[in-house]
Amino acid sequence: MSEPCTPTLLKINALRERNAIALKVAKDHGRKVVGTYCLFSPVELIVAAGAIPVSLCGTSPTPIPAAEKVLPRSLCPLIKSSYGFALTDTCPFFHFSDLLLAETTCDGKKKMYELLGKMKPLHLMQLPQVQDEAALEYWILELKRLISRLEQEFSVQITPERLASAVMLLNEERRSLKALQDVMKRKPAPITGIDLLTVLHNRGFTVDKREAIELVNRLTAELTELAERGVSPFDNTTPRILLTGVPVGVGSDKVVRLVEELGGSVVCFESCGAYKKVDPVVPGADLLRSIAEKYLRIPCSCMSPNHGRLSLLERLVDEFQVDGVIDLTWQGCHTYNVESLSVKHHLQQGAGTPFLQIETDYSESDTEQLRVRIEAFLEMIGARLGG
């Protein structure tokens, strides 16, 4: 697989280390930092409070053994990794955070946050797990409670003007991220799924959002140009795979690597840091309500029911000309594991898109077993495409 490379791609790949330093400099200049773990964190409020929102580490297997001294081994690797990073103080973004923002998404996370709150100031938002009117009213109250906490913690005032400009900035960020991912609709896709994932992962740690938007826009332009010239590591017969399910990032990307090593192309990630993120805030008369609506709409498996994920998937399968869907579920992630069956049935009843569920963790111990499954899945798709 020849790797097309663009200047901006290289720059973004080096971002993570640079960002840690940039964060320290910003801290030295008196800026406040809020660490987030999840897509449900209403980042607009953090930005409006003049603080820097950063994603916290949780995709590497390295700190898991440390976490397992405290947490049950059967817990999902993402929760263990997040907690392990905090415990071993090996995530610079956690280290520099003045406040942690967390939400009651799944059972494992919310109980882990109780322990995490003993290490650092932590604000826990009570997230409703249904997406109706009553839930929205409750969620708006939770947003208001977060505003009070941020105002108190950082001695600032979140004015309507600051909120409006934060919404504009983050909508701009989402627009740029959507445009970047939409480049993968080209057949064949101009870059590998691993490269796309690395970009999406690394930009989560950026300190200056405007700069990150700039970079992503530039990358989108470069990739569009590559696609125009027909440059791609793949060809028209490469099976196009959509990855759905649990959050993935650099370090927890073994399935993405295997798919591409075995001759597939991951063209779309229907996951938290990727396509689940691009839905904008639609500003209405009451901006806080608009923000609350946007976040409550997120089609996470902690919601019940979670029809939004099924319709999003159906749309993405069509738009990205997907040949097969892989549903990645972490061991111990009950919500995504159970929901997998609904996803499978939905796809079977719809376009009949080939579907494979993979249940694994961050370790490499099952690589050979996964290889057989993924290779057989790609052979199955190849036989379908070949007629």
Partner: protein, 253 residues
């Protein structure tokens, strides 16, 4: 054209030579050297057919050891191969059940022998040939004897699917004085339950073909058949289905 299919499994390595019909077959233990076993099976099949290696047009490898042989013109997963092999032997096959030494699979196939859907066991020995071997070992029996004494016995309840825990459970049953035949029947029952669970993950329909070395044991066929409440077809040489499928992939390429 003569095509060869070589299936390097965790326990046995199988070779099939095919030129429109099966010309020769060979089975050798894989042991610690998958590549050596692959070559040995290939040469044994060539000798049996009286064919020179040069006369073979394509060699297709499958099984977990498929990566280890430079001889292969192509490598295909055992899932695709078992589907092809089972379809060739019995074209009405719509579900293939394959229990090998280290994993078990349920494969749903269409009328053309193409894979529609499949499910595999997790990364443990539960419901595999390895599980049977370990349990036979605890009872001090060969696999054949395990099957013989299980016939007609009321299965003792063995609830652990994990080979390690099931071993302690059997030791416990022996200590209680439970009849060996009932324990053996319980072992087959446990695997059948596991396979039923796996089968629940794909749409099992039409004729079921049981492939893989474990299908050589009539006791497991009975247990699975009664568990799934359907008749399952066992080919004359179930352990060769994967190698046959690989040979077919080579022949039809």
């Amino acid at each position: 054209m003569i095509a060869a299919g070589i299936d390097i499994g965790s326990t046995g390595t199988k070779a099939v030579l095919f030129d429109g019909e099966i010309r020769a077959t060979a089975v050798v233990p894989t042991g610690w050297d998958p590549a050596g076993a692959g070559l040995a099976a290939f040469r044994q099949a060539l000798d049996a057919a009286g064919i020179a290696e040069e006369a073979v047009g394509r060699v297709v490898g499958t099984g977990y050891g498929r990566v280890s042989l430079p001889l292969f013109d192509k490598k295909v997963t055992e899932i695709t191969c078992h589907a092809r092999g089972a379809h060739f032997l019995h074209p009405e096959t719509r579900t293939v059940l394959d229990i090998g030494g280290q994993d078990s699979k349920v494969i749903s196939v269409d009328a053309g022998g193409k894979v529609v859907e499949f499910a595999m066991n997790d990364k443990c020995a539960a419901g595999t040939g390895r599980f049977l071997q370990v349990m036979a070992g605890v009872l001090g029996l060969s696999l054949e004897e395990l099957g013989l004494i299980a016939a007609g016995a009321e299965p003792a309840r063995i609830s652990s699917m994990c080979a390690v825990f099931a071993e302690s459970e059997i030791i416990g049953l022996l200590a209680q004085g439970v009849d060996k035949g009932r324990i053996a029947a319980g072992v087959f029952h446990a695997i059948a339950t596991r396979v039923q669970g796996l089968a629940g993950k794909v749409s099992v329909s039409g004729d079921i073909t049981f492939s893989g070395g474990v299908a050589l044991n009539p006791a497991i066929c009975r247990a699975i058949g009664s568990g799934l409440a359907v008749e399952i077809r066992v080919p004359a040489a179930p352990q060769l289905v994967g190698a046959l499928g690989a040979a077919l992939v080579g022949y039809e390429a």
